[in-house]
Amino acid sequence: MASRSTPGNSYSASSDLSQIEYELAKVLFSVGLDWANIASLSIDDILDKINECNTINPMNITNGAAYASTLASEDYLKTQNTVLTIMVRRLWYWRQLATGVL
């Protein structure tokens, strides 16, 4: 148990970083990237990979003449793309902050 009780000096950057990297590693593996290569990966690489794995196709089914709709699978990919992108951006940001005060 890592409970600390010294007001003013209880933040642990190493524990914070460990948890952030645990979550980040999960995302990396889910898009086919290896955590072992994290030192050579940029966030641009990761975002590109997320897009590559969750490609959003143009709306390809028309619903009458007025507007188009999407397949459920396309909706899923779009949502998955969004949540992975948001998670990576946040985790990358927080990782920089934790690393900065190690």
Binding site: M1, Y11, Q19, S30, K78, W92, Y93, W94, L97, G100
Partner: protein, 261 residues
Amino acid sequence: MVLATISYWGTVMTHAWMETNLISKSLSKLSSNHDQMWNSTVADYVAAMTTHHTAMNVDRRATVIGNDAELHWWTMIETSVPGWEANVWSAEMRAILFEECIKATNYLWVIGVPESWMMEQMNDSSKNVTLVNDCNLYAFEKFYLTQTEVSTKYTDTEYSTLDVQDILAGTNVGTYDYVHVRMKDLVSLNSNLVDAYMNMLSVGGVMHIEDTGAYGSFYSSHSALHKHYMTKTNRSFLTKDGFMVFHLATDDGTTIIKRTS
């Protein structure tokens, strides 16, 4: 994706929740101790946060932080836009509301903007406050507790700290009667974080989750709710037995979860 991004950002900036929170603030009366003042201490704290982020040389390119309000938070409130001030105030007001209703004594908090009510709980010997270890805890300790106005006013500040890993491992499970987190702390590839935080509640305890409406963008999904990235996490609250879940579709979104068994 780009269009969706712009649409989302537009929703964030123009949704009526700014105005509703201004009205909420003007029509609410908390006790004199619960003033939630946006004073110089808070202003200095927010300025120190943004300075710290700059000093850390955090990558803030558009492609890296996008339009995520979570990553623009401190710079946005630093500009003191009236709606932001009221938004922060209203979120904290809701925290006080539920705490006052249940008379909690054992808190688990992911810290946000420090304010007077929170400090009072930490200075009340009948209350136990546990803060979650994250970058906001670092800022709270370095840029808020160290201010002279704070250290002289609150002389008996006590709290303990818990790592997220310990929450996932079930440390202190079932002991907190008030858990206060934000949605950013729960969004993950699976429901592990949701399950873990909900399990921290004691029977009868209440969990208060801020921003479950994605700063209002959730409510513009209309019939396409399933397309919103936050829907999956919100629905995961409903999958566990022994909990009542109340999603309050107001401004930025608030969810209250009560453990019943």
